[in-house]
Symmetry: C2
Subunit: 141 residues, 2 copies
DNA sequence: CTTGACCCTGGACCGAGCTCCAGGGTTTAG
DNA sequence: CTAAACCCTGGAGCTCGGTCCAGGGTCAAG
């Protein structure tokens, strides 16, 4: 296991993160994943942290974040010098965003619970309570 | 305000829900919105509930639900007869889904808070805590 | 040193979810 | 009775986020 053989192939990180190989290369092109080292033959070689990063991307995507938003989340850390207060501010903004999503989902959850409950006590399924649940509101997503 | 003039135009429901007119027509085509009544001249006429329904669609979309998933959520109510236990089961499944999303978001929120905190105590922004936050896990989305 | 599994690039193509015409008809305020 | 504002249909086109080749090179187990 010399310096050249070390590291994971793209196939392995992809499998590790539950993504397709093409998708990993796509994320690299889109700037979500740093360009990895290469073998002399031109093969990408990844560190195990790449798997974590890709898992993060996948899950954030499933939560409805766009790739642009995910890029922003990921670059919150890549501010080694000056911008500390700035990073803090951006993190706060993201927190507010996340909190408002949680609140929305909790409203939706309550509505679904109501629906399930109203159904268990017989009688025909009444007029949709879901629609009552998520009205108004929209903090600056 | 006779029977013909009653109801909202597509422009009004669209504005009310924060959507484009074309999008409303698109949702109708996609079966997310029931076909509305028409004036003799062929104009769509909506009830105020249509606005609620569209707001729900918009917000669910922002939370990362696909239109297909949203359609499922909306049809949970449209089961007037037989399927009561079935509706209940489907609602439970949706609740589980929503709960797992909330859990993910809460993990992400904690990670962001950690990041903001670690930054406030000076020192250069440390290695990304966000990546630690959302590992493993993936309940059946 | 072969061979099968894997990786490379570049570019075409795809489905979801809109968005934008063109060409024409309807409504309604004044 | 106008004229501006709005609506209709049908269909083309666009962005995002991948996905899938073709044609060729690399790696590593045996």
């Amino acid at each position: 296991m010399d310096a050249v053989t070390a590291g994971l192939t793209i196939g392995k990180v992809a499998r590790g993160a539950g993504l397709a190989v093409d998708t990993v290369r796509y994320y690299e092109r889109e700037g979500l994943l740093e360009k990895p080292a290469r073998t002399p033959g031109g093969y990408r070689r990844y560190s195990p942290e790449a798997v974590k990063r890709l898992q993060f991307i996948r899950q954030a995507k499933e939560l409805g974040f766009t790739l642009a938003e995910i890029r922003e989340l990921l670059t919150l850390k890549v501010a080694p010098d000056k911008s500390c207060a700035d990073v803090r501010a951006r993190a706060q903004a993201k927190i507010a965003d996340v909190e408002s999503r949680i609140a929305q989902l909790e409203r939706m959850k309550r509505a679904l619970e109501q629906l399930a409950a109203s159904c268990s006590g017989r009688g025909p399924t009444s007029e949709c309570p879901i629609l009552e649940a998520l009205e108004r509101q929209e903090p600056g997503r």
